[in-house]
């Protein structure tokens, strides 16, 4: 399928840019594999969520304006982070709603939803012969509704599972608590250090008990938090962003 007529801007969240460049590369390559013409606007910085979640959205407004200026001319803005996509689409309501602001809020997509809902990907040619547990990030799950949460009494669906089912030899494990938060929560991770670390530990333990070799998620921030615990405790499990798995060779 060719989507070359669609101009896609890749937004690489600040912490991914700095600590997980391989996730940015995988997202770029994956979008190109799917036939998109992808640009990486050099002026990009951050969506402003770290400030806003701490109560400082007034102080984040210059970041919002910078974001809109950087990404305003593209058909789609795609980001390998449900959390950033959620923030731009839901919380940029505090700046003046000009045409371009409205357009940016509507055209930003978490890469999972972009692959399933815009590109309608049905096959990938990826292979990952491992047992994998999905960490359903809360902003992806309940914020962007990428899957049904256990609270909702509706028919189950999952855009993450839909994509991972296309990966050869990958085995998804069953978790005891499929949608418990990992405890990252941005500045929560340090402000509420004890609860945050305990939540992360419980989350990783669930994946370990299920026999998973890898934890995957659409949000690297959750994985960064859990990876920090995994490495400190030398637990036999690794983390990988969803796009790293989807971008493997078949």
């Amino acid at each position: 399928m060719s989507h070359q007529s669609i101009r896609v801007a890749l937004f690489v969240p600040c912490y991914v840019d700095q600590f997980y460049p391989q996730v940015g590369k995988a997202a770029l390559q994956l979008l190109e594999k799917c036939g998109c013409t992808v640009d990486y606007p050099d002026e990009q910085t951050c969506c402003g969520q770290p400030l806003a979640n701490s109560g400082m959205e007034q102080a984040a407004k210059p970041i919002y304006h910078h974001f809109v200026e950087t990404f305003g001319s593209y058909d789609y803005i795609v980001v390998p982070s449900a959390s950033c996509a959620y923030h731009v689409s839901h919380h940029y309501d505090v700046i003046e709603q000009t045409e371009v602001v409205k357009k940016v809020r509507e055209s930003i997509y978490d890469i999972t939803a972009f692959l399933t809902d815009v590109l309608h990907i049905e096959s990938l040619g990826a292979r990952f012969p491992h047992k994998v547990g999905i960490h359903q990030s809360c902003h992806g799950l309940r914020g962007l509704q990428l899957a049904r949460s256990t609270e909702q009494m509706i028919d189950p669906y999952s855009k993450w599972e839909h994509l991972l089912h296309m990966v050869s030899d990958l085995e998804l494990v069953q978790l005891e608590r499929p949608d418990e938060c990992c405890g990252f929560g941005g500045t929560f991770a340090v402000a509420e250090e004890a609860v945050s670390a305990k939540m992360g530990k419980d989350r990783v333990r669930d994946h370990l008990n299920s026999g998973a070799e890898f934890i995957t998620s659409g949000d690297m921030s959750c994985l960064m938090h859990m990876e920090g615990l995994i490495r400190r405790n030398k637990w036999p499990i690794q983390v990988k962003h969803l796009v790293e798995i989807l971008n493997t060779d078949g």
């Binding site: 700095q18 979640n53 109560g55 309940r142």
Partner: protein, 459 residues
């Protein structure tokens, strides 16, 4: 604004979690309620429709509360009920006391009232020589321990049966070392039976007050609220102004949601309708504001008053389950408490909106669809606007904000940060001042950022 000391949720949570096996036990006990809720709710095909109906009815109530309250008062009075209005906790306590003193009440039995906990009625009455006995088992246990509730539906959920055994042994002379729940319940039953037989008045909370009938509905599992109200001529029911529902038929929505959301039961064992005084008796209803009408005036936050006190948000909250009810420093803890309390006293409760990862489980489970996580986010903005944000945090984030609004500054700062993390000795990055690194490793620093790679390979 009050000058009381702020609640330090993080510190209280830290202390709670220090006993990890107990934290795991607490998490499992509370999670069990949530699991039962999932099973119970799944059996109702129209569950999501019921939630929408409940939300709509409550929105209507909040939009027309003055009229419904007056309608309720008129109908209750027509039934022979004496209706009292209390503007705050103090006037509530005064009203209750004056009713009891007029009847020379020595012993009051009380059941199912978070509101009287909110108003601290017990110490008020005890100071005036009136004995109060909470008759629901969980409430009685915490009363005997001289504690407040740690959960609004299961007030003693933080206490183990072994501890109940010790407590009853000390105060009710039960067998030492007893842990059998059936035995302990029987001990409580005999103890309470004596109180019921000797009490002079009964007081209950209210789950729903029906405007069109003037009656109140009390939902319980143990029946102790009924035992009290039926034993004596004098019955008092205390309710917040938000407990109103317009019509009797609306109970068909709320009763189906309440018990399932709370414990997974299709309905509470008793849904008791109190409509008029017994022959020769008196029935009083005390309608309490205590900050609610002020909250009603806040557009962004008003719908927190849709709460029917089922506790599902607590049972679903990964933070509450690991920090315990007392870490919130208020009668109503957990997510709903964290959006109600800042409205009472922002300075005192400024930390509570931050005692959340904003995971959204609370909003998704709420039977009346309160947007709890969004309100937590909005309260955080208020904390900053009213200048209550921690200054260290604020300064750090202001610097970050300045850097992140310019690509040039961001590139320069990030290069510096990666350099520092890569080359600084470990003791400088992993120390007690770095809360991240207390139990977690920092991410490994790659050779180049994505941006650097892109510029080299793609431009």
């Amino acid at each position: 604004m009050g000058s009381q000391k702020s609640i330090n949720h993080a510190a209280a949570a830290d202390k709670f979690i220090a006993n990890e096996s107990r934290t795991d036990w607490h998490n499992a006990s509370v999670s069990y309620l949530r699991k039962k809720r999932d099973v119970g709710a799944a059996l109702v095909p129209e569950w999501e429709t019921l939630r929408s109906l409940a939300s709509g009815i409550k929105n209507n109530v909040l939009g027309n509360l003055d009229q419904y309250l007056e309608q309720f008062e008129k109908n209750a009075q027509a039934n022979g009920v004496q209706v009292h209005w209390a503007v705050d906790a103090e006037s509530h306590n005064r009203i209750v006391t004056s009713i009891l003193e007029r009847h020379k009440v020595k012993l009051l039995v009380k059941s199912k009232s978070m509101l009287t906990e909110e108003c601290h009625l017990n110490p008020h009455l005890e100071a005036r020589g009136i004995e109060v006995v909470d008759t629901d088992l969980g409430e009685r246990i915490i009363q005997m321990r001289d504690e407040g509730p740690s959960h609004i539906v299961a007030p003693a959920i933080h206490i183990k049966k072994e501890e109940v055994g010790e407590l009853f042994h000390d105060q009710l002379q039960s067998e030492a070392g007893a842990t059998d729940p059936q035995y302990l319940t029987e001990v409580a039953r005999q103890h309470l039976r004596e109180k019921f037989l000797n009490c002079d008045a009964a007081l209950t909370g209210v789950n729903f007050a029906v405007a069109e009938t003037g009656g109140v509905v009390v939902c319980t599992n143990e029946g102790n609220a009924d035992m009290g109200a039926h034993m004596v001529p004098l019955q008092i029911h205390c309710m917040g102004i938000e407990k109103i529902i317009p019509r009797q038929q609306d109970l068909g929505v709320f009763l189906r949601l309440l018990a399932r959301s709370a414990t997974g039961q299709p309905i509470t064992i008793y849904s008791s309708h109190h409509q008029k005084p017994k022959e020769g008796g008196e029935m009083h209803i005390v309608i309490v504001d205590n900050g609610r009408s002020k909250h009603l005036g806040r557009d962004t936050f008003r719908n927190a008053l849709k709460c029917i006190r089922c506790g599902a948000c607590m049972n679903s909250c990964p933070v509450y389950r690991r920090s315990g009810g007392y870490s919130y420093g208020y009668t109503v803890p957990g997510p709903i408490g964290s959006i109600l309390t800042p409205g009472f006293n922002l300075e005192k409760y400024k930390e509570l909106p931050f005692a959340s990862t904003l995971c959204g489980a609370c909003s998704a489970v709420c039977p009346t669809k309160i947007n709890i996580d969004e309100q937590l986010y909005k309260w955080r903005q208020k904390v900053y606007e009213e200048d209550y944000l921690d200054k260290t945090k604020e300064t750090g984030l202001s610097v970050a904000g300045n850097v992140l609004s310019s690509a040039k500054k961001y590139k320069r700062a990030s290069a510096l940060m990666r350099w520092a993390l890569k080359w600084m000795p470990r003791f400088m990055t992993h120390n007690r001042f770095n809360a991240w690194a207390k139990k977690r490793e920092l991410p490994e620093v790659p050779g180049e950022s994505f941006r650097d790679w892109y510029r080299k390979n793609r431009k």
